[in-house]
């Protein structure tokens, strides 16, 4: 197991380095400097600013200096918010985004897992078709459409829930979490249904039934562990999707999180902010993929052996 984890960690390093390198050079070759919008900047001021942001150095040296900064955990200053660093902006936005992501993941796993397991217990019955049809809608309905529709119905017409904000009014976290989690609940429902159906036909389930366990114990004690492996493996990629989804959800519900900062930075062409956030988010995603792989391997000894040999 440790060998597997160490191997996976080693694989993650070139990926993270690739992200840093590609992002850095992409941002540097971008047309237009960050100070183009300010009219008639005094040459001395411009030079001082460029020195501050190290734009006067050759590209190679800029890259090396940036790597050194990163090694110390410094993501650099923001172009658009003078005096603030990317670290501070991330620290300001991360709590809301992390909380939103956690709730959405909870919605996805609980709702999706429950729907999938329930559907798998009686395949091709109403108990199967109804949750799976709802899941199909969840997959086809984009987040940026579901969000406004939920606001329209529950916020504006029924007036049950607040339409925007995060932690200001009680209940204002419900709609964003549901909106972000819905699509993943739908995927998880499909995955867990397929996983459970496969496991339920295995011999060890028949053995469990043969020794007289009640059906609910067969499901909870024996089938779930195997049946939910695909779901665990899906959590890594889902995390990346949740982050991207948070761009939209935070914009719709005006949540002061990382996603909204990122979109604003994209519009402002705040290059250092984009660079820093991209590196940060990408590293997070790679690490989360790693975690979900390790968890899936821990649940599935066969997979573990396969990776151990390689």
């Amino acid at each position: 197991m440790w060998r597997f984890i160490a191997g996976r960690l080693l694989q993650a390093i070139p990926v993270i380095l690739a992200v840093i390198t590609v992002t850095f050079f992409l941002v540097r070759v971008a047309p237009g400097g960050p100070f183009d919008s300010e009219k008639a900047v005094i040459p001395e001021v411009k030079a001082a600013l460029e020195a501050q942001y190290r734009l006067d150095l050759p590209l190679g040296q800029q890259y090396l200096a940036y790597l050194q900064d990163l090694a110390r955990g410094e993501l650099g200053p923001s172009f658009k918010y003078p005096g603030r660093s990317v670290n501070e902006l991330i620290a300001a936005g991360l709590p809301a985004t992390a909380e939103l992501g956690a709730y959405a993941l909870l919605v996805a796993v609980v709702l999706g897992g429950l729907a999938g397991v329930v559907a798998s217990l009686k395949p091709n019955s109403a108990q199967d078709y109804i949750p799976m049809s709802v899941a199909m809608i969840g997959i086809c309905m984009p987040t940026f459409l579901l969000g406004p529709l939920l606001v329209l119905v529950f916020g504006i017409h029924l007036e049950w829930l607040p339409v925007a904000g995060w932690g200001d009014i009680p209940g204002d976290k419900i709609l964003p979490s549901l909106t972000l989690g819905a699509a993943y609940a739908a995927y998880i429902a499909r995955l867990s249904r397929a996983g459970m159906l496969e496991v339920m036909s295995q011999d060890y389930i028949r053995t469990a039934r043969a020794k007289g366990l009640p059906e609910w114990q067969v499901v909870t004690r024996h089938a779930l562990r195997g049946g939910l492996i695909p779901v665990v493996a899906f959590l890594g990629p889902a995390f990346a999707g949740l982050l991207a989804g948070s761009f939209v959800v935070e914009t719709i519900f005006q949540i002061p999180g990382l996603g909204r900062f990122y979109v604003q930075a994209a519009f402002n062409r705040d290059y250092t902010m984009i660079l820093g956030t991209t590196v940060f988010l990408s590293t997070l995603i790679v690490l989360f993929n790693l975690l979900s792989d390790i968890l899936a391997a821990w649940l599935n000894p066969r997979l573990r052996a396969q990776y151990g040999e390689a």
């Binding site: 070139p14 990926v15 590609v22 992409l26 086809c140 994209a266 519009f267």
Partner: protein, 295 residues
């Protein structure tokens, strides 16, 4: 491998080809047929838009402003008095074009890459697929946002960027297919006849791997369209004066409190298309995949 087996048995038992057999099974799947019908209608509408759109694309009626659906404007008008049906028709052209063109880009890169890796094998295969593994781990959603920021919001770039993301799975599927196919006798026969590797790949391997490729292509189109709509919603995709369903949804969301039809109709168009493509993809998978077909 599986498709070759199917062809054999199908010919012995019924004298039909793989494709006829698949079509027979697809015809029994009502949801897939519904998907195919919806898709055909939408593609036809998109192709005919310049002739059938009820109003000119840039026709405004500022006196009218936003009006709910009526006899003159079946789906209502937006705040500038522009006919929503016309907007949706023109937006659909772009949304569908992005879906198909970007998927075609992914298809060409992925199939070529996977076929070469699978056919040549050995160290070339290891290096090529290792690269795919690394690219797989990259957070592409974020990269596309970055690309759109850095290089301006250019429609052609959007096609390329999305296509460049989606080819990875295609390459994996193709490689798997080719690896199992190249062990078979008909490929050995082709080699001993002295055919060049390029010809073998093109004439023998790609056609036999077509089933899974078609299925995955059908399922890639909706995810590409979703990606385009996502970017357009954030304002990083299709730019005015052009429009797309994602952009129309974004406008609709801004004014949904007063004019809900501006959100609901473009949303319905996009969701219906995604539904259709997913149903068709699922149906094709069942029709072409022996394991899942149950007979």
């Amino acid at each position: 491998m599986t498709s070759a087996n199917l062809t054999d048995t199908a010919q012995v038992e019924q004298g039909t080809s793989l494709w006829k057999d698949a079509w027979r099974r697809l015809r029994k799947n009502r949801l897939a047929l519904f998907g195919l019908a919806v898709l055909t209608v939408f593609i036809a509408l998109a192709l005919l838009t310049p002739w059938i759109a009820p109003y000119a694309y840039d026709a405004q009626n500022l006196d009218l402003g936003a009006s709910p659906p009526s006899a003159a404007h079946w789906l209502g008008t937006d705040i500038f008095g522009r006919d929503l049906l016309t907007q949706i028709l023109y937006g659909g052209r772009i949304s569908l074009a992005v879906g198909f063109v970007a998927t075609a880009v992914a298809l060409v890169i992925g199939v070529t890459w996977g076929a070469i890796a699978g056919y040549v094998g050995g160290r070339v295969d290891a290096v090529m697929m290792r690269l795919v593994d690394i690219l797989y781990a990259l957070p592409f959603m974020i990269f596309i946002v970055l690309l759109m920021v850095v290089f301006g919001r250019n429609l052609l770039l959007l096609f390329l960027a999305i296509g460049a993301v989606e080819w990875l799975t295609m390459a994996r599927i193709m490689r798997g297919q080719v690896q199992s196919l190249r062990q078979q006798e008909f490929v050995e026969a082709a080699v001993s006849l002295g055919l060049s590797p390029a010809t073998i790949v093109r004439r023998h391997l790609v056609p036999n791997a077509l089933g899974p490729i078609i299925v995955y292509t059908t399922l890639t189109i909706p995810s590409v369209m979703l990606l385009e709509a996502f970017l357009s919603f954030l304002g990083l995709g299709v730019q005015p004066p052009a429009t797309s369903w994602g952009l129309l949804i974004s406008y609709g969301a801004e004014t949904m409190e007063e004019y809900p039809w501006l959100l609901i109709f473009p949303g319905a168009a996009l969701t219906l298309t995604l539904f259709a493509l997913n149903f068709l993809g699922d149906g094709l998978r069942d029709a072409l995949d022996v394991r899942g077909s149950g007979d």
